[in-house]
Symmetry: D2
């Protein structure tokens, strides 16, 4: 049984009628619903809950954390970010969605600004699969087409991904590395671009399939955390002059 | 249900009493035995069978192919190698063991000589885990120790692996990239160093665990092969002067 | 002093008036001209010369080989390909241009089909820089725009590049990994997409700048080829029971 | 003309007679001396200088910064670290030496703990070249041997390097990724393991050669910083319903 926590800022949903209309239970609610299954137990957590809903207990019982944030990244407390980061390095999977590229947790794990070009212009996006061998594209065709999305364009200021899985084409003339995996410590990270709040992106079946696949791929590995620090030799060391 | 085919040259077992003693059913027999389970159906194939046991039918029904070869690489027919390669590019997983580094199939997929340093001196090997996030090291400690093994040393003439999972230490002073993953077409490849025929390496539980994990990681992705060739535009192209 | 050999199939130039008009001295002639400088000595070689102009002597005196081929890949002799490959693995840089993706030498070094989608439709291409730290983009802006080019689209069946430097946007809706580096043996490889024969692409200053930068980046490293084969221990190996 | 700044904590040199004896002008002094040439202008900076010697002016005039620190990482002011990081992302090269693995600047750029195993036992280290194509190993043999060094062992908690160049063998039984490159923003980073303060490592000619090569490889690329933020379309976007 996988245990997933879907974290959402959950602010647009309170103030923007369009967003509320598309996601009446919040973006987190929609994601939680399509992810839940006999093998995946899903909880949600939001910014305005105590400790943003990410207590030690919640984190210690989370195998994969999904993160959606946008306008309130700065309100996320540094101490919570530190706890999440510690858990990722210990093995918890992290799926960062869309505007989460600017979240404290993603920037801290990447070591770069994570900046990019953007535009809201109801334009077409096409996410092309560039790694057909990756389990994250199981059941996905040559590309995923989104009729209207926000544009994110290169240069995307991230470290070169360990694996590049999707590359986006935008109607306005830009491209973007839209599906990127990273390994950090004992944990795995997947950044997935789509999901502007004013479009019904997370209701699209291909997008849901990618997120479901990603959750499986992000599953923690079952082994002890490496031992660091001063270490006795495993072999005899010759005395030298 | 995963379908695994274990291919073995199966020559040392016929002529060398030590090898026969360690692997009375052949290296392939030992690997087949520990891999078989309710979820994994295992067949074996050997060099001296018709078409080396790798007919179109066998290959088309194989999800993951395991390859052990050593002194008869040149006897493997080019047409069979071509068929195996086609299947890997279409998605079949390939696990190349030890001296398989010099097999036609591995060299053809790597594009390099795959040459290395080697020595048979009953020396100690220690395979250190350098990627603790990878499912191939599930259940594995900080390192795997093998009391006696053949040495393989750098420079190992392979492309830089997509993921480097194990690095070996050898008593005689060398190091080696011992666990390497590659993506080629729709298929995944794992090279795993240990397994000289005169040592009981494939009887060791950690080695078996890595091979079991690798088979799961090598599982083909379920999607159509990409379409290549001349392609109609998906968007209107402006006529230019 | 760098020694560059520009190899060209040089067939379109003989039969197609448009191509002849754009490249009166052949594609190789144009490239040789803009590359030549006080620091770079350039020679050319073409398919119809003896040994395709790539004798042992020429190859042994070449630091970087540039390759443009298209309709006569199959006419390139296997023995010459083998010699070129040997030299790349020994350290000679290789710059593969455009339709060279299907050359024997590139496919052999990649280990994959190197297949792709394509279309000739006079459409716009925009090559976005995704690795701003790489010396190959020295002096290059955010993107290079080509008013008319042949389209190459994903999936491009290559191994994941060691470094991805350019990603192309095409008017018709596709994307492509257009600037890819690889390490093979002691040699470095750069694949650069643009340059369909019926467009004046190699006359464009940004394209020339990239090729000049690439030649510098491809410079061989000055060191002995690694030693392979049976190897004496560097440390004392304990006798074991 | 390259402009290099060698930064050193410079504390061991004040208090430890052994270190003072090996590096009478400080580790920074030794490095500055062998690096200086007609093409490379070298300055030094140390922790106890004002702003640690890393003023805006110094940083803006530095092409490559070399970093050696150990026991006083915590004394380096966060505001200086932020300035250094900004400069790296803008293109300044960064060479992190030995115990600099735990510096604030390295940890911040890596996004991981950068923790490792260590031991001081006067043991032999052998750094094997695993990427013979890289300019950093120009003029270097198959390995560099250091008669006595501190041991650093895996797991080294870093992101998978973009390029792995050296792997160390240690007498006591461990291995280590000793030469690692990274790209961050417009800047390049090289981590190079050797250089414990109580050994004359930086006096060894091979080590000096690697550092000289690395400085050249770390050279900033000459181009404008990418433009981020809201961006007008480059193509016409169709109005959709």
């Amino acid at each position: 049984m996988m245990r997933v926590t879907v974290w959402n800022e959950n602010r647009h949903e309170q103030t923007n009628a369009t967003v509320k209309d598309i996601y009446p239970n919040g973006i987190h609610g929609t994601i939680a619903q399509f992810l839940s299954s006999e093998e995946v137990e899903v909880h949600t957590a939001t910014l305005d809950e105590k400790e943003h809903g990410l207590t030690e207990e919640v984190l210690s019982e989370t195998d994969v954390l999904i993160w959606w944030g946008h306008l309130a990244h700065h309100e996320v407390k540094d101490e919570i970010v530190a706890k999440v980061k510690k858990r990722v390095l210990e093995g918890m999977g992290l799926l960062v969605l869309h505007s989460g590229h600017f979240s404290k947790i993603f920037k801290s794990l990447m070591g770069t600004t994570c900046d990019l070009k953007w535009r809201e212009a109801d334009e077409r996006e096409r996410l092309w699969v560039v790694d057909p061998s990756h389990p994250i594209v199981d059941g996905i065709g040559e590309y995923i087409e989104l009729e209207k999305e926000e544009m994110y364009g290169e240069h995307f200021d991230i470290p070169a991904p360990d694996q590049l899985i999707f590359m986006s084409w935008f109607e306005g003339g830009e491209v973007f590395r839209s599906g990127c995996t990273y390994q950090r410590g004992s944990g795995k990270i997947f950044y997935f671009r789509p999901g502007h709040e004013t479009y019904p992106t997370y209701h699209q079946s291909d997008i849901q399939k990618v997120i479901k696949n990603a959750v499986q791929w992000l599953k923690p590995v079952n082994r002890n955390t490496p031992i660091y620090g001063n270490s006795k030799p495993l072999e005899t060391i010759t005395q030298k002059e």
